[in-house]
Amino acid sequence: MGSYILKRLISAVPVLFGITVIVFLIMSMIPGDPATAILGSYATPENVEKLNRDLGLDKPLVQRYFIWLENMLTGDFGRSFSLNRPVLDEILERFSATLVLAGTSFVLCAILGILAGAISAARQYGLADKLITLVVLIGISIPSFFLGMMMILIFAVKLKWLPVSGMYAIYGGGDLPDLINHLIMPASALAAVATGVVARMSRSAMLEVLRQDYIRTARAKGVRERRVLMGHALRAAMVSIIPVLGIQAGFVLSGAVYIEMVFQWPGVGRMLVDAILKRDLLLVQGGVVFVAACYVLFNIAVDVAQSLLDPRIKT
């Protein structure tokens, strides 16, 4: 197992390397430059050119790439001009906020989605199935940002149950209940679509598995139906659910952008959107590499989980 993980980690290196190339290329294709963004209204072509030179942007693309790559490998992600601080500091700070949000949403979508899908399959065409199908359908059909806006309108502005935005109360908060209080709306808005997808997938995976011969074997053994469903069937269904979870993790991580904007969550997604708009090359590049690395790592974790669950996978 250890060498399998190591092998997967090593195979992730070229992927990450490729990502650095892609992000660098895309960022270099974007018109507008950081100097304009720094200088704001007072950006004259002359000033822009001088500032670009100061920022080292007049060098050839390839040279700039390798300078960046080399610095990054030594742990220096450069300095964000739009935030005027080291890129790495900013990313680390913001990334933890995103992890809290996306992590919570992911756990929510995994637990609720699988549970809903399993119940739905177990009671196929029953009332519970219909109810769940309906809720799931609504979940996957509403844009998360719209859902978020509506939640703010209803639960924060009208009912005043939950705080509108932010991660912690500005004063007198900072503890776990405070965090949870702030998390409820953004996490559920973010989890809505993913939960729907996972629930649908789980339902069909369960139905598929329930047709298998080994389920019949379990029944023929006299195993109780509850265990047949939640043990045998669900476990086997997990083999096809887990990859979906892996993909959903990517969606949740990405979808956090909207939610972070609507709920002013101090996360990395919003930072990256801002950074793209401000042409903050280093921040975008660093941030994307970071997020991508996280995604790749998570997928390795998914594969490892998959191989732990399914002994047939060669490790």
Partner: protein, 621 residues
């Protein structure tokens, strides 16, 4: 057209089609409707509420008519969703097919590239693409399509890999087709339904994503608006004039929901398994719906199947898989059921403990008595207590019938604990004994093996051990050796025979192989088209078959030692059990058939245990 019928059989898909249809009709005729100019501003009339005069849905922040903008916006959103889904599917599928078909290094390189794109947060990728190309609907479309290419590519690659390994691809190569032709004419038609399913289930998602980009201000250019940018523009007035947000929000919801419903319908309709009802959950027990009277107990044997009728109800068709089958087996006895595929032998066996998948299976008549008790009448819990405990099964394919993710030790322990309140430790000890009793070498280590780590023969031994776990009185073995090599088969048969003698088991042994029956069974019943056509002591039946079917079947099996020769084939095919002919089901293939054979009901005649269902038997029984 079967496609449409299947599609609309799903009522939710029908609902989706109706909603989407209405929306599409509305937006198609939008230019003809008496609507105000969607771009005409009247800032003094801004934020009129719905149902205001002249503005059915009110006006937006510039006093523009929301209804008109909504309809025009829907046109754009729908078009974008469809077009981007189409292009994502086009490029994604092309990449996926190429990677999947050629495999090896090409596959590796392509899939690594896809991995890279997938690891790139997709909204940022879209955002960066739009930032690079400039805002505008076309660019948003390109971005949305581009970020979805990887998902199609991955999906289609998976399908292609499984198809590329299929034999018809090899056949095409042998027929002289080159790679391009194989991809286009052999692979593509098979992948196409999957692509269509992919499109139909992602259009909704694409619309959501485009809406997201527009919401961020990267979509359509003013004054035009798609639904997403309508939402984005209205966001500032969410609290003051919520209708400006809620109306486009609901529209997006309706479109995406109806597309999803329809997409699900398309997926199900294109999925061949749906036709066979394979996507419905089998119940814990087979449905019993006995029309006629329940046969009286007649004290035959330990397990007594009386006039069993099991059918499969698939749509309007009724497959009479088992028809009026009566069998019984006593302790220490081995009963063979022999027949070709589709003869109903397995269904008979599975009906005993209610294991026929239901739907579509229904037991429509007869009784199954264990020790006098009618199992078809028993509650689920009562039946469950009997399963494995009194009547145990051994199935055909030991790889498919053992749970692939549980260690075999755990599966044995589970079998024991389902009927006994033993501790796991005790159960494990028992499991070890069981493995030893079926003569598995290195039994203690084998407990921790997964099924796939064992050979076919060893797996089948585990299957037998599991059947023995609770010392059942009856074992039903459903072609337990068919998937095994001859040398292994010989070992398994010996094992079963030994167990029967040692434990006094009653065995029902289902097979299509006369050699096996001859070696193992005391009595044999021959099934054809859901009925027993002949039964008797094994030797009697084999030595002097009475039914022409039995006789000819024995004749056409080559026997080792016969040398090179012409075989006595039976012409024709067995009838399909949803269209059974009147009279004898074998009559059409029988060279002795006469007019009487094609008429009426032909009973099973003879002196027990010998009986034959034939008007003109080969032997008198």
């Amino acid at each position: 057209m079967t496609f449409l019928r299947l599609l609309f059989r799903n009522r939710l898909a029908g609902l989706g089609a109706v909603i989407l249809g209405i929306i599409i009709i509305l937006v198609t005729i939008t230019p003809l409707l008496p609507l105000p100019d969607p771009n005409a501003t009247a800032t003094a009339n801004r934020f009129l509420r719905p149902f205001s005069e002249g503005h059915l849905l009110g006006t937006d922040h510039l006093g523009r008519d929301i209804l008109a903008r909504l309809l025009y916006g829907t046109r754009i959103s729908l078009a974008i969703g469809l077009v981007s889904a189409f292009f994502a599917a086009l490029f994604g599928s092309a990449i996926g097919i190429i990677a999947g078909y050629f495999g090896g290094r090409i596959d590796n390189v392509i899939m690594r590239l896809i991995d890279m794109l997938m690891a790139f947060p997709y909204i940022l990728l879209a955002l960066a693409i739009v930032a690079a190309l400039g805002p505008g609907l076309m660019n948003a479309l390109i971005a949305v399509a581009a970020v979805n290419v990887p998902f199609f590519a991955r999906n289609i690659r998976g399908i292609t890999v499984s198809l590329a390994g299929r034999e018809f691809i090899d056949a095409a190569r042998l027929a002289g087709l080159g790679h391009t032709r194989i991809i286009l004419s052999e692979l593509l038609p098979n992948v196409l339904p999957v692509i269509v399913i992919g499109i139909s289930t992602t259009v909704g998602w694409m619309i959501l994503e485009t809406a997201g980009l527009s919401f961020l201000g990267l979509g359509s250019q003013p004054p035009n608006a798609d639904l997403g940018s309508m939402l984005g523009e209205a966001r500032a007035a969410l609290i003051t004039a919520p209708h400006t947000s809620i109306i486009p929000g609901i529209m997006i919801f309706l479109i995406v929901m109806s597309i999803n419903l329809l997409g699900d319908g398309v997926r199900d309709a294109l999925d061949p398994r749906l036709k066979s009802g394979a996507l419905t959950r089998p119940r814990a027990t087979t449905r019993v719906d006995r029309k006629g009277p329940v046969p009286q107990a007649d004290q035959k044997g330990l397990l007594n199947i009386q006039s069993l009728e099991t059918q499969f109800h698939v749509g309007p068709r009724i497959y009479r898989a088992v028809n009026e089958v009566s069998l019984h087996v006593s302790a220490g006895e081995c009963l063979g059921i022999i027949g070709e595929s589709g003869s109903g032998k397995s269904v008979t066996a599975l009906s005993v403990m209610g294991l026929v998948a239901s739907p579509p299976g229904v037991i429509t008549g007869g009784a199954v008595r264990y020790d006098g008790e009618d199992l078809l009448d028993a509650s689920y819990e009562r039946l469950r207590q009997k399963r494995g405990n009194n009547v145990a099964y051994i199935f055909q394919d030991p790889l498919a019938t053992l749970h692939p993710l549980y260690k075999i030790g755990d599966q044995l322990v589970e079998a024991i604990q389902s009927h006994n309140n033993t501790s796991t430790k005790e159960a494990r000890t028992k499991a070890l004994e069981l493995l030893k009793s079926v003569r598995i070498p290195n039994a203690p280590e084998r407990l921790d093996n997964y099924p796939h780590e064992m050979s076919g023969g060893m797996r089948q031994r585990v299957g037998i051990a599991m059947a023995l776990a609770n010392d059942p009185e009856v074992i039903i073995a459903d072609e337990p050796t068919t998937a095994l090599d001859v040398t292994v088969q010989a070992q398994i048969l010996t094992l079963l025979d030994d167990l029967r003698r040692e434990r006094g088991l009653a065995i029902i042994f289902i097979t299509h192989d006369f050699g096996v029956v001859a070696q193992l069974c005391d009595r044999v019943a021959v099934m054809y088209a859901g009925r027993i056509v002949e039964e008797g002591q094994t030797k009697a039946v084999l030595d002097a078959p009475a039914h022409p079917y039995t006789k000819r079947l024995i004749a056409c099996v080559p026997e080792l030692g016969g040398g090179r020769r012409e075989l006595a084939a039976i012409p024709g095919l067995p009838p399909v059990v949803d269209r059974l002919p009147e009279g004898c089901a074998f009559a059409a293939r029988c060279d002795k058939a006469q007019d009487a054979c094609h008429r009426g009901y032909i009973p099973l005649n003879g002196h027990a245990p010998r009986a034959v269902r034939c008007l003109f038997p080969e032997e008198v029984v």
